[in-house]
Symmetry: C2
Subunit: 85 residues, 2 copies
């Protein structure tokens, strides 16, 4: 079994309204030094297979088709072997 | 100036409906090896100060009050010095 971590980030130049909203809140709370907030996703899951080809294929397809929007986002991933519990 | 990265994760035992939804989609697409999907946030921003006490305080307060919900989420953070551009 493998544990996968996928990080999804908006492409540069794509507006990040959620980041903008958080930053407006920051200004209201008096944090004036904060800028360029980008809010992406940090996703963890298990892949129940020990065949590395299968594992990598499932991570890439899951990340590219369901966890990210390929039009506006990029993703990166890593995985590590973990013991079945 | 510092670049901060904050990772927000749901606490263990707190239901993750967004993760569950992604996983149902995975099953429809035929990825049957995926389980325990947890969807958190990966946030990047700049802090325009060179006073480390200020930088760390702003990151912690921004993360704890605006970027995460302390009732159901935990956050971790790191930061690195970057050149002013």
């Amino acid at each position: 079994m493998y544990k996968a971590t996928v990080i999804v980030k908006r492409r540069k130049d794509i507006l990040d309204p959620q980041g903008k909203a958080a930053e407006q809140g920051a200004k209201l709370l008096g944090f004036n030094n904060v800028s360029d907030t980008k809010i992406g996703k940090y996703i963890e899951f298990f892949v129940h297979s020990n065949d590395l080809t299968v594992v990598e294929k499932e991570i890439k397809e899951y990340a590219g088709k369901l966890l990210s929007n390929p039009i506006i986002e990029d993703f990166e991933f890593k995985y590590e072997k973990v013991d079945e519990t």
